[in-house]
């Protein structure tokens, strides 16, 4: 079939690949995004992973647009089905008149024919896996390349740049490159024999972009290196392993010692030791690992050891749904560990923010000498997008004692000061010798749990030290970011959200303001604990608050109630593991339209 003259003009286009674990969706997905990025488009990728290595159903969403994409769309312009489960999972999201490319030998349309018909879906079937095998018997992942080339043809986009991207990725692997080039050819032919070019893509203004395509985990890892990270202690776990894998890969170059520990307990305790010795140190994990680190988190808070802890949340509780998204570890991050101990919790709203918040996390940890959580989630850690190359920011290491000064003639590691922050000294600083200790202690860090516990002075010290430790929160909350409004001023309805759902809510607000006769805005938070005191002022500007968070018990709403006596009685709940989309949020929010 030859190209028609009247092609559908497009500004934004959403594609979903569905297949089995092992089909190479995620790695090819990244290639395709790099390609679109190179052309100057904004790109967004999101994987639907499973905790199974082979088989099962996984998917990869890819979206590109002329304007910035903040979140992936629910609705699909194109679905590429490499197994029947793709239809089970995604056919409901096909737009009217969308296109379905599918492998005719693996995908059974039968049960979906009616739905596809009713939506006027254009079907493009072929033996994608056989074509792949024809090129190379053992490399089924070529089916991804074939369908991608078919997609490019459909969009009327050049495949040369795509081949360049492949060349770069597989540099020195001539065989693989050769196979892929054949696969691209095959894909184009295949589409030419079917629909040909159907769309006309608006060309972005941005040319020769220097943007990079990274995911949240990589942004955090890069942010950590920019912050001066020297020691990462970690134990593998989805969806945080990638941080360790990326930093391992560049360990020597970046000067970051990466220690894969025997378990999460060892990991965080190594990090505590490294921090004590004077380097910036971090640990990363997800829920089960955080649970294991609980005791050490309290120790770090008690000993006032700076520490950055990444928790990439996944569906819980327990093993839960380990490759899905949930925002359900907020309360457990704030309250992890027995007794009362201060900490900071930051939840990045985007990939860019993940990088910059990591730098802030390290600075806050050092300046206030406490553990700082970065609360990412599967949705942010694994999403990919093009971002402006990151830049370095000021590194603030806080109060470090290297010898007698007027203010600190004698080193007291836990000296009681106005803002609660005491000087730190690192070995081998002469005169700085002290013992880090998790028992209550005096200003010199002398333990009270031995002979002095029970004397009246120990009561006094415990009270003073508790106040000192918590006083730091009072001071640091002043430099935390407050919630950010987006949308109409003084809107009828405000959707409150936190962390990584920012992009989805933002797109929903735009939609709602355009498509309803109410006015809408959002108030999004990244700095969750301690909530800056001035937050109340923001809340007072809301007419009708609606909370959106991806958990069951309404944890952030609970915090607002507890800390500000501010009630949010209406909420949008999402539970089930899939990351939210603007259309889901808009649909739910519509309930309050005109109310």
């Amino acid at each position: 079939m030859s190209d028609k003259n009247s092609k559908l003009p497009i500004k934004r286009f959403s594609i979903r690949y569905g297949g089995s674990a092992g089909d190479g969706l995620q790695s090819t997905g990244r290639l395709i995004q790099k390609y679109f990025n190179k052309l100057g488009y904004s790109v967004f990728g999101f994987p639907g992973t499973q905790s199974t290595i082979r088989g099962g159903h996984i998917w990869q969403h890819i979206e590109f647009a002329v304007d910035k994409i903040f979140n992936f769309s629910q609705e699909l312009d194109l679905l590429i089905a490499l197994n029947t489960d793709t239809l089970l999972t995604h056919s409901k999201d096909l737009k009217d008149g969308a296109i379905l490319i599918y492998d005719t030998s693996r995908v059974k349309l039968d049960n979906y024919q009616e739905l596809l018909d009713s939506k006027n879906i254009k079907l493009v079937g072929g033996e994608l896996f056989r074509y792949a095998r024809d090129i190379n018997k053992t490399s089924t992942v070529l089916a991804m390349t074939i369908s991608t080339a078919a997609m490019l043809r459909l969009l009327g986009l050049s495949t040369d740049e795509f081949i360049d991207t492949i060349r770069k990725r597989f540099v020195n692997k001539e065989k693989i490159i050769e196979f892929n080039i054949q696969a691209v050819k095959k894909g184009v032919e295949f589409m030419n024999a079917n629909l040909g070019t159907v769309f006309s893509c608006e060309i972005p203004e941005k040319k020769d972009t220097r943007d990079i395509v990274v995911n949240g985990n990589e942004a955090i890892a890069l942010g950590a290196v920019a912050s001066g990270l020297k020691f990462l202690g970690q134990y593998p776990i989805t969806p945080a392993s990638q941080i360790m894998m990326y930093l391992s890969k560049h360990s020597e170059k970046f000067g970051v010692v990466v220690k894969q520990a025997e378990d999460e307990i060892a990991a965080i305790n190594m990090v505590i030791g490294a921090s004590f010795a004077g380097v910036r140190a971090m640990t990363a994990t997800s829920g089960p690992g955080i649970s294991l680190k609980t005791e050490a988190i309290g120790y770090a808070a008690m000993t006032e050891t700076p520490l950055v802890i990444v928790n990439s949340m996944r569906g819980g509780p327990s093993t839960g749904i380990p490759t899905k998204m949930e925002q359900s570890d907020l309360m457990s991050s704030i309250y992890a560990s027995h007794g009362e101990s201060p900490r900071v919790v930051l939840a990045p709203k985007s990939i860019e923010d993940a990088y910059y918040i990591t730098i802030r996390a390290f600075n806050l940890a050092d300046k206030y000498q406490l553990p700082v959580f970065i609360l990412s989630d599967f949705g942010l850690s694994e999403r990919t997008s093009n971002v402006t190359p990151f830049v370095e920011k000021k590194i603030e290491r806080g109060l470090i004692w290297t010898g007698p000064t007027e203010k600190f003639p004698v080193f007291k590691r836990k000296q009681i000061t106005e803002n609660g922050v005491s000087p730190r000294a690192f070995p081998p600083t002469v005169g700085g010798e002290y013992i880090l200790v998790g028992a209550e202690h005096d200003e010199f860090s002398n333990s009270l749990s031995g002979n002095r516990c029970g004397l009246p002075l120990s009561q006094e010290i415990h009270e003073k030290m508790t106040r000192k430790r918590f006083r730091k929160l009072d001071y640091l909350q002043e430099e935390l970011r407050e919630g950010e409004f987006y949308g109409e001023d003084n809107a009828d309805h405000t959707i409150i959200c936190w962390g990584s759902t920012y992009g989805a809510v933002k797109e929903a607000i735009d939609y709602l303001n355009t498509n309803t006769d109410n006015t809408w805005n959002m108030l999004s938070f990244t700095d969750i604990h301690p909530l800056p005191k001035r937050t109340l002022k923001l809340l007072e500007r809301i007419n009708h608050p609606i909370m959106f968070e991806v958990n069951f018990t309404g944890q952030f709403a609970g915090l607002l109630q507890m800390y500000f006596k501010y009630s949010v009685d209406d909420r949008i709940m999402l539970l089930g593991g899939e990351a939210p989309t603007a259309s889901f949020i808009s649909k739910e929010a519509m309930k309050w339209r005109n109310k």
């Binding site: 990079i212 010692v257 305790n269 004590f276 013992i435």
Partner: protein, 290 residues
């Protein structure tokens, strides 16, 4: 304002709160003597420990120290050691701390072979928590948690260390301070993980494995091939009428820092922070993502 360089390892103004007669006093003084003899300075040494009577050890020295949580003496030691390989790192603890709750770190640290000396004050009892059976308590020992006597085979720390791949495995006894000092000295000289099981009687809660009990059983290993794992393992099995003291096993193997891509060349704590300061071209880093 100048700070006097301190060369004495004994803590000023603090006295160990161990019971009079507790074996731990012996390890403390032998360690202080040995490190001083070696010309180390307190500011260059970091002593880590867990929780237990024995684990209060760092407080009675003037060195830097980490009195970590229960069972976690070793992981922070690794953190310190890799962040600043120039420091001398010593870890100490009790049998409960090191062989019980901390057992996993013990075996993994052994195979990692960091240049750390680890000395366990083994009194075969949980002292600080008032006398429960520990993993090294003897079969049949009647304690507050084993009214009919310990029913579980005790851990054999020497055999365990060998099985875990430790490169230096020794036993000493706090009553024989000379020998103990010699062992500490060799352990600290060893490049790699040096483990010493230190018999350190608890006079308050262990009325079975007393000084008298040990005095008539301990003897020093002689004519023993410390490079032969099977021989070492055979000797490790000896515990009863005869209890060998000395070095069971010692071999040379690259240390953790020898092999780590960063620490083999650099002292991390002395390196500048960030990409630019380290002369890393960020553009090159970003290129991977384009």
């Amino acid at each position: 304002m100048v700070i006097q360089l301190n060369t004495r390892f004994k803590a000023q103004g603090k006295k160990p709160n161990w019971c009079p007669g507790c074996g731990d006093h012996g390890l403390l003084s032998a360690t202080i003597k040995t490190v001083e003899k070696k010309g180390l300075l307190p500011n260059e040494v970091v002593i880590t420990s867990g929780i237990g009577c024995s684990s209060s050890f760092p407080h009675w020295t003037s060195a830097y120290g980490i009195h970590a949580i229960h069972g976690r003496a070793l992981p922070p030691a690794i953190g310190v050691h890799m962040a600043n390989p120039e420091l001398t790192v010593i870890s100490v603890g009790g049998d409960g701390d090191g062989y019980g709750i901390g057992g996993n770190h013990f075996i993994h640290t052994a195979r990692r072979n960091p240049n750390i000396t680890y000395m366990v004050m083994n009194n075969q009892i949980y002292g600080l928590t008032l006398g429960q059976a520990s993993p090294s308590s003897q079969l049949g020992h009647i304690t507050t948690t084993t009214p009919e006597g310990v029913e579980e085979e005790p851990i054999n720390p020497i055999a365990l260390a060998l099985g875990a791949g430790a490169t230096f495995v020794a036993r000493a006894y706090t009553r024989d301070s000379k020998h103990l000092q010699m062992i500490i000295d060799k352990a600290m000289d060893h490049r790699g993980f040096a483990f010493v099981d230190v018999i350190s009687p608890c006079v308050t809660f262990n009325k079975l494995n007393t000084y008298e009990w040990f005095n008539k059983r301990v003897y020093k290993l002689e004519d023993h091939d410390t490079s032969d794992p099977s021989a070492a393992f055979g000797k490790a099995m000896e515990w009863g009428d005869k209890i060998p003291l000395g070095i069971f096993y010692q071999i040379d193997r690259p240390t953790l820092n020898d092999k780590n891509p960063v620490t083999r060349n650099k002292i991390p704590v002395k390196e500048p922070l960030g990409f630019n300061a380290q002369n890393i071209d960020m553009e090159e880093v970003f290129d991977e993502f384009r």
